[in-house]
Symmetry: C2
Subunit: 336 residues, 2 copies
């Protein structure tokens, strides 16, 4: 089968399409013929040699999510039938024509979702939904999403809005903030330079009537994290999901104490299979119905064929994206 | 009645014993004739003008905990009888001959506890127990306590040990570590200077067989907090209880992310009455039986009469204490 292979650490030029052996499903796994998949920042980091795949995942084939048709069933996998439309997350290996996944770690693709959209769903909606769950999100709460124009940011914004909360967000550009308003963003805070974050707490006070944010979903880290700590409501929760803006950061512990904050670091990829199944099950129960009725939807920045994987990486690295960079498997029709 | 009064912000010399009006119990409150009370760091901060009493508490009479006899009952307070031995926490006002408290925010003093010991119990055992509860402590877990020789530190060490966990601790001096071993400490880490904390993660690896700490109770903050973040097990929990070693601190967000840490800031004093009742109820249910059977016990550094309040403050400020600085109300016999 065709697959993206990381031939060595480096820039997009180290990515090649190679012919590799098709994976075999384990007893409780399904083999999925991938129709669409998408890029995540973890793929960029893995390509740079800074984020090795977790044990058990293909080590040199990137790709954390997929949508496709069930092609083969493992010996004890009775939950799905051949041809079923499914989507899910894996520890790696999804940028390929075929991928295997545990039968309980995939969800049905609702009929209204086209393949390209379905490929853009699993990672961001599972991540955003899981983060809101960990934060104990309740209707009426004020939620700030850092990097609101990112895939996870837009999924979170839509979920908060659909579930009765108020969604706020940061972005480097006013353009992304305007576009995010179509997806439920109430009000945005522009951060052209990190120094602008010194005014985040004033923004929080202003939009929440002095209360502060109940929840921050922080995909950036660095100075965004520090500024969030100063902008929280009493008993607020910060869910740290990413650190693209920096790791070492200066934090005011007295704010954590005095406001009785909860800070939770979360990553999806490194979780155990059982935890991934739990997150996917919650997603299937609570988010897939919202997708089916159209109250939340995938947001696609751009679509590349698998062969254009280098261009797709360059696009995500540009930081100009709004929503997901999708990869479509052109050889699909030939393979069924 | 006699009470300690903070006459202005400053050193121990601003504390005076004054005759002030006896408080009146509200409908659901009891008036307690205080036999013993104790000092907390919050009293020092309040004296310095850096920690005002919460709304509803006496503003210039310090004191967060008490043990004594029920002297009067509010109109709707039927839970206790006059003469009952009770202990509890309040937002302030306990360094006095009488204090009022909600009837559900006090617990019975077990018969085996002497007054001096009882006065040293509530704040530290409620704080330590509540922190372990928030951390989701389970038997078998590895718990690091920063400032193991403090009142809360020794209460936490005893609770962890009594409930089947492994207790580790830091202290500035080897002497306190040795003494803490009598209270269940398995192994201690000496921090004569903050630079020593750079070796904390190696200590954590060594004593936990490479796993890291499941829980850190951090009474110090500052560099202790930063070093803790580097020393945690996967899904470890840091409960930040105090910040005597500093507020602004440099933290590695990648560790919070990668280890999926939970960080929880907690203070007892500023909580709502309902929350204080909940914490006291859990303490009465789960800790008082351990006190009654002697498997945990108050640790007393020194006992001062109320009149020696200035000396008591100097003692706590010396950072030489091991356990609680207790205040005894000498005029008690005369008042009953």
């Amino acid at each position: 089968m065709k697959a993206v292979v990381i031939t060595r650490s480096g820039g997009p030029e180290v990515l090649e399409i190679q012919d590799v052996p098709k994976p075999q499903p384990g007893p409780e796994e399904v083999l999925v013929n991938v129709r669409n998949t998408a890029l995540n920042r973890a793929d960029l980091l893995q390509r740079l040699g800074r984020y090795p795949a977790p044990p058990g995942a293909p080590q040199n084939i990137p790709g954390l999510e997929f949508a496709g048709e069930v092609a083969e069933l493992g010996m004890n996998a009775h939950r799905w039938q051949k041809g079923d439309r499914v989507m899910g997350i894996v520890g790696g290996g999804a940028h390929a024509e075929f991928v295997t996944a545990h039968q309980d770690a995939v969800a049905a693709v609702p009929p209204n979702l086209e393949w390209s959209g379905a490929g853009a769903v699993p990672e961001v909606f599972i991540t955003a939904h899981d983060a809101l769950q960990q934060a104990g999100f309740k209707a009426g709460e004020n939620v700030m999403v850092h990097a609101v124009g990112s895939g996870v940011g837009l999924a979170a914004t839509q979920l908060v809005s659909a579930l009765g909360g108020r969604a706020f967000g940061t972005s480097r550009t006013p353009d992304k903030i305007e576009r995010a308003k179509e997806f439920g963003l109430e009000s945005g805070f522009e951060v052209p330079e990190p120094i602008a974050l010194s005014r985040l707490s004033a923004f929080a006070e202003s939009v929440t009537g002095g209360r502060g944010f109940d929840i921050v979903l922080d995909l950036n880290g660095g100075p965004y994290f520090s500024a969030s700590v100063e902008s929280m409501a009493l008993r607020g929760r910060i869910i740290l999901i990413g650190g693209v803006a920096g790791g070492m950061t200066n934090v005011d512990l007295y704010q954590i104490l005095g406001r009785r904050l909860h800070i939770i670091g979360t990553v999806l990829r490194a979780r155990s299979l059982q935890e991934k199944i739990a997150a996917t099950t919650a997603f299937a129960r609570e988010v897939v119905p919202l997708l089916a009725q159209g109250s939340v939807q995938p947001v696609i920045d751009s679509i590349f064929s698998l062969e254009k994987i280098q261009d797709a990486h360059r696009r995500l690295e540009s930081n100009e994206t709004f929503g997901k960079v999708v990869l479509t498997i052109s050889g699909f029709a030939r393979k069924v």
